[in-house]
Symmetry: C2
Subunit: 261 residues, 2 copies
Amino acid sequence: MKVLFVIAHPDKNSFNHSLLDAAVKRLESQGNEVKVSDLYAMTFKAIVDADDFLNHEEGTRLKVGEASFAATESHQLTDDVVAEQEKLKWADTVIFQFPIWWSSMPAMMKGWFDRVFSSGFGYNYGIRTDTRYGDRFGEGVMEGKRAFIITTIGSSKEQYSERGISGSINDILFPINHNTLFYAGFSVLPPIVTFRADSRREEVYVNAEKAVLERMDNLATVEPIHYRRQNFGDYTIPELTLKEGLEQPDQAHFDIHIERV
Amino acid sequence: MKVLFVIAHPDKNSFNHSLLDAAVKRLESQGNEVKVSDLYAMTFKAIVDADDFLNHEEGTRLKVGEASFAATESHQLTDDVVAEQEKLKWADTVIFQFPIWWSSMPAMMKGWFDRVFSSGFGYNYGIRTDTRYGDRFGEGVMEGKRAFIITTIGSSKEQYSERGISGSINDILFPINHNTLFYAGFSVLPPIVTFRADSRREEVYVNAEKAVLERMDNLATVEPIHYRRQNFGDYTIPELTLKEGLEQPDQAHFDIHIERV
């Protein structure tokens, strides 16, 4: 398999980097090809601005979506963004690794999505008709590829449980898993989440590494999250609302977009 | 009143900046004091790294939470972060303005939270006992201040409705409104959201400006979102899960953390 890791952590000796090293070693020992985008090591530019779009006319208004589309279509994106897009095209599995800060990705990782998932590549892709609304949510440039998150959280599992004050971890990750990865066409595997990663207990790391290595051995066979695809009858077009009665009685909020199987 | 705007948009002529200009003008004309942190204009450093903590020993492992706490406690944060913290202390109302990209903040805005809400300031604040778990979720350094989001989205309102494929806008903003702003002690007012902001219809802007100006006239009186406070009996300590039976039957997921009044 061809596996791309995209990792955002400022410390090479971190919990996250140790997990990465173990995962890469395991994959390579089994004959897989691995590439790593270590965003801090690359000093990846995380901020979208006019410099990202080589054909943007200086001094004119920057409408980000339009500028991004124009640059994507005419091959006027910057080399660093194109290099990341090429890695994505190359990979069959993409793993995003980062600590949760403020219930979301660190700015470095967010900026990778802001820039690399350009208009005409990560979104605004495919045609719109009466029965389909572009290639997105289950279709798109990443169709046929798998992706998932490996993340660490300082707080407890209880705090991120169904009744936890921070909301369930699945709800917290929905904007990334569903609205970003699945949106771009990926099949999204369940995340690997380590709680209390700041704990000094050795077993926290040992258990995390065990879960990661097990996943590495099963990348091709783990069942993806069953998000409903946009263009296959479950949603009204063009409103993009879930048709009535499709969810189970105990499903609500983000959860209605997952099909029980 | 003393109002701080924190805005992240790369274009000075954007929809967002036009709303900002209108809001500032209205506030100042009524005798309020206004400060603006225009993060792109400031070329604000959005990426957390070892340089953020002046007392961090070069070459040693960077545990971000610990380094952040040590720097906050010993006044060894960088000047740019301290300046933002001072503005927060000065303000009685803080308004965050940004476009929604990938169901969240642009990296520039996320990085502002990652850096400015340091450990011992934005989190890890207050004592822990059998009956309280730090000053957070309704208590904390921002207690007594109000905050809210003004944002723009390219998609339709339907797509971000209760049954919309992207999830409801209130759920999408929960990680910011509840897990970040309310967490740090702010009273959080309902967001002002403009959908289809990329539309070329003039009325979209006109309606947005109208909503913003109306809010400026009512900053002190608009009712905050009734998030449940952490340390006042609704949550188990230290698990931080909502006690059974407190929510209404039709409340689920993030919604259970809002008290119906």
